[in-house]
Amino acid sequence: MAEALLVVEGLNTVLNTSEGTVRAVTDVSVEIGKGEIVGIVGESGCGKSMTVMSIMGLVPSPPGEVTGGRVMFDGTDLRTLSGAEMQKTRGRRIGMIFQDPMTFLNPVLTIESQISEMLRHHLNLTKAERRERVIDLLRRVRIPDPARVVASYPHQLSGGMRQRILIATAISCDPELIIADEPTTALDVTVQAQILELLKEIIHDMGSSLLLITHDLGVVAETCDRVYVMYAGKVVEEAPVDELFRTPKHPYTQGLLASILRADERRDELYALDGTVPNLVDVPVGCAFVDRCAKATAICETAGPGWTRNSDVSGVACWNYET
């Protein structure tokens, strides 16, 4: 693995709700090397988004609260930074791309002002410099007719165009790390592929790293170098992408892979994982996956599995994983 850029260790985030404390993120450790593309995959509600919000220091409080762990970014623990220092890191050194490009763009401000404001606050560029850089960024994300698009508003653009705008915003200050939270989920399949291709290319050109959050293993296969699988707020498996697809170890990962439809296979029946993610207010004592797991044994009910490291870059949290 390349030199580490972001090292998250033992991250814990809870949500204090009226029904009790929701353990949204439990002991999550994630590492991203310089120039690497790393995926976090898991179904809705497994804590992917809360993990990135915790990294960015953007967990809404109340009800959220980061209760422990370290977020080492380029040698500094982001959790120890003051609000002002964190503000200079967000957007400037860590760019973020969101899921729904309609709601994450301000409907009443022009595209130019929404990109330009970052250049003003982080880079102190003059008005003319900002105009030039905004147009340059729009060209970089391959927006046709950027001279017209700068003056337009989000509702005047298509979904794919808006997602390109979000990417342009995220890369506007040449950040070392980009976090993309489900960047293609709201888009048509054809547009998805274009956006992923663009994202990979841009990350490669800038020499930055990408942390890609998705529920779509297809996206992971196309884009990532390494991947973390999350379930019920915990990382259950970590592996390089080809290894994960070739020899998945955790029963949950196996289940996810088995439910993918492939063009080169004929199936009479679709496979689906039974059950849903457990309620994170009353976390089970044992393994969180036990109720849905085909390989569960007695110990799975009573104790959570520890982390078994298989190599430098792979590991699994399961009592009965496949070797």
Binding site: M96, P107, A151, H155
Partner: protein, 349 residues
């Protein structure tokens, strides 16, 4: 944290695009929007004139018989009067002449006050506008500012307290509040005059005149504005809280923008319902200003209307109706245009 600079080079050919972008094509849609709005106001104006015309004709009694009163004119004299007043012509003809006279700015003649109606109204316009607009604008701005502060601390003591006060603020009837305020601030404390727009013992000019009017203005404007302070506070608070919970605010935070800028993002959206409500309030405040003008002896249009009603001065009343209606249509037109400046989405639909 160590220093960090932007390293990416500008793509070749960007310069040319930047120069091209200087010509902004977005203006065209704004001009078209304004033109459309102005055109759509015209039928409304016509509607107001028609309603006013019908009202005059529905009014009981024959205008000529009112004019002649107890005297007993000959049929020839009556016919001459009808002809002189144009009442011998067809209804359609009369309507066209009515429209023509309004277009010329002729709103009729008040026999009670022996004066031209338009002149009488225009005389009162500065007093009413200074009361209405000061009150509406100052208290709307204050209400919105308070809401912005409060929206950032939801469920705090000032949030709850402010909301409770706001409910009281718009429940209290203006005539009652006016008398209480008069009793306390004018009669007991003697900080402000009880009545009028200027001190009639002196004839001030320039700056002294301005401060004298301001001194007289504070009490009536506060009574009139209390309601709008409360309404705008509630609207803006809800709108700001809604805006602050939107995804684009999360995005703005993720961009590392300062808090000031984040509030600006919310404000640009939260102000929209306030603009709409402002338009409604302009109409609403007219009713309030009649009461306030009467209690405080303010020489405005509301007072004029009140006097006209007591004197059964129909030409003057009708003149005020049409003048006020046109004023409201124009105000709403302006509000629509201002709204479109704040919300680009309405411009293209």
């Amino acid at each position: 944290m160590k220093g960090y600079r932007v390293t990416s080079k500008v793509l070749p050919g960007t310069r040319a695009v930047v120069e091209k972008s200087a010509a902004n094509p977005a203006r065209l849609s704004s001009i078209r929007y304004v033109a459309l709005k102005v055109l759509s106001a015209l039928p409304m104006l016509l509607g107001v004139i028609v309603v006013n015309f019908v009202l005059i004709h529905l009014a009981p009694g024959d205008p000529v018989s009112v004019l002649v009163g107890e005297t007993e004119p000959t049929p020839e004299q009556l016919a001459e009067l009808y002809q002189k007043l144009g009442l011998d012509k067809s209804v359609g003809r009369q309507f066209l002449e009515y429209v023509g006279s309004i277009l010329r700015g002729d709103l009729g003649y008040s026999y009670v006050l022996q004066n031209d109606v338009l002149g009488l109204i225009l005389n009162r316009v500065p007093a009413t506008l200074s009361l209405m607009l000061t009150s509406l604008i100052v208290f709307t701005v204050v209400g919105v500012l308070l809401a912005i502060i409060v929206a950032r601390h939801p469920k705090s003591l000032i949030d709850r307290g402010g909301s409770a006060l706001a409910v009281i603020g718009y429940s209290v009837p203006a005539f009652w509040l006016a008398q209480i305020i008069l009793l306390v601030f004018a009669l007991q404390l003697r900080w402000f005059p009880t009545n009028g727009m200027t001190n009639s013992r002196y004839t001030y000019e320039g700056w002294a005149y301005f401060t004298d009017v301001l001194h007289h203005l504070i009490l009536p404007a506060s009574v009139l504005g209390m309601r709008y302070l409360a309404i705008n506070f509630r609207y803006a608070r809800a709108a700001m809280r809604d805006a602050l919970s939107q995804d684009y605010i999360v995005a703005a935070r993720a961009k590392g923008l300062p808090e000031k800028r984040i509030v600006f993002h919310a404000f640009r959206n939260g102000i929209l319902p306030v603009i709409t409500v402002f338009g409604l309030n302009v109409t609403d405040i007219l009713a309030g200003s009649i009461l306030t003008e009467i209690v405080f002896g303010w020489p405005g249009i509301g007072r004029l209307m009140y006097d006209a009603m007591y004197a059964r001065d129909y030409p003057l009343l009708m003149g005020i109706f049409i003048f006020v209606s046109i004023g409201i249509i124009i105000t709403n037109l302006l509000i629509d245009i201002v709204y479109s400046l704040f919300d680009p989405r309405v411009r293209l639909k």
